[in-house]
């Protein structure tokens, strides 16, 4: 059985990077796939990889991660426009991140605006 957990942006918006990563990893280690509204910053992604590596053991083999949507590397004007739109429309964050345990997700293909998630045969 495939279990998904949706995390709205509001649930992580006020967390520190360390807390965000701890939360995400805890869910991934419980064999759930996370659909996160918005994106982690690139430094948070690097931190997630570091923490994932520290957590690898006999049962936990790591994660698969994929993000689509606006990245932090976009230019200043675009960032301001997006920020204003979010403020006026009350939108949390643009983009979507999928994170899941490598024991369940075989591969996530991103091409550039669509995501294909391939799962393993779960016994």
């Amino acid at each position: 059985m495939l279990r998904l957990q949706v995390i709205p942006y509001s649930e992580i918006a006020n967390l520190t990077s360390e807390s965000k990563i701890t939360k995400v990893l805890k869910i991934a280690k419980s064999n759930k796939i996370i659909l996160l509204e918005g994106r982690l910053s690139s430094t948070e992604e690097a931190l997630l990889i570091e923490r994932t590596m520290s957590n690898i053991d006999r049962r936990f083999k790591g994660i698969e991660i994929c993000s689509i949507g606006d990245s932090e590397s976009q230019d200043f004007i675009k960032k301001v426009k997006r920020g204003l739109a979010q403020l006026l429309l009350g939108i949390g964050a643009s983009g979507l991140t999928i994170i899941g345990p490598a024991s369940i997700i075989k591969e996530i293909k991103r091409d550039p605006d669509k995501i294909e998630l391939l799962t393993k045969n779960i016994k």
């Binding site: 690139s42 430094t43 690097a46 590596m53 690898i56 790591g62 590397s73 996530i108 991103r110």
Partner: protein, 207 residues
């Protein structure tokens, strides 16, 4: 000669030549160590890293100091830093396919996870980075995005090296469209294809 030219030439005499700490980053099995070997062989006459088809062959940072590279009449000193491939998962069972014993595979997996952590920590210690990508693979892999995003956040100059262009399925255009804000140079580190262009692009990136 004007006063300022005179001053410049005096300063040049006393100028301490800066050594550029050049990091080679990228996903697993993209050819970072093959490129490090090619550069080291070209300018020092010796290789610096072991290469293998088994993933995670490089599991610790390897540094080759004072590599003097010349291109287009210019010369720069580099410290070459070959890093373990960045990955989000490591499964010792993958290594068993390469006829390793279970003990060896588990040891390799443990070392590989430490290597990834070390590679990320070393982002603090580089002045310029070659992001080495396998031109036959999908460039939109999140690991590539994460590496390049982290370098951008630190304002570290990046040259993307599309390796393995000698293979039929190589697609440089796809890498260029995935990372349009970066220069991409296609090479084959193993065969030495287009290596002169690579050195020119490297000097442009370092400035």
């Amino acid at each position: 000669m004007g006063f300022f030219d005179y001053l410049k030439s005096i300063l040049k005499i006393f100028q301490i030549k800066k050594t550029v700490r050049l990091g080679l980053y990228g996903p697993v099995n993209a050819g970072k160590s093959s490129l490090a070997n090619k550069i080291s062989l070209d300018w020092l006459g010796e290789e610096m890293s072991e290469v293998s088809k088994i993933p995670h062959e490089t599991r610790e940072i390897k540094v080759k100091e004072r590599v003097k590279i010349k291109s287009n009449g210019k010369e720069l000193d580099f410290n070459l830093i070959d890093t373990p491939g960045i990955a989000t998962k490591v499964d010792y069972e993958e290594f068993l396919k390469f006829k390793m014993s279970k003990t060896e595979a588990k040891k390799r997996a443990k070392e590989a996870t430490q290597g990834v952590i070390e590679a990320i920590k070393w982002l603090e210690n580089v002045d310029c980075v070659l992001v080495v990508l396998d031109a036959t693979e999908n460039p939109y892999d999140q690991v590539n995005v994460t590496i390049i995003g982290n370098l951008a956040a630190r304002n570290i100059p990046v040259l993307i090296v599309a390796n393995k262009v000698d293979l039929k399925s190589a697609n440089i255009k796809r890498i260029e469209s995935a990372f349009p804000q970066y220069n991409v140079v296609g090479i084959s580190a193993l065969k030495g294809t287009n290596i002169e262009d690579f050195y020119k692009e490297l000097f442009k990136t370092v400035k």
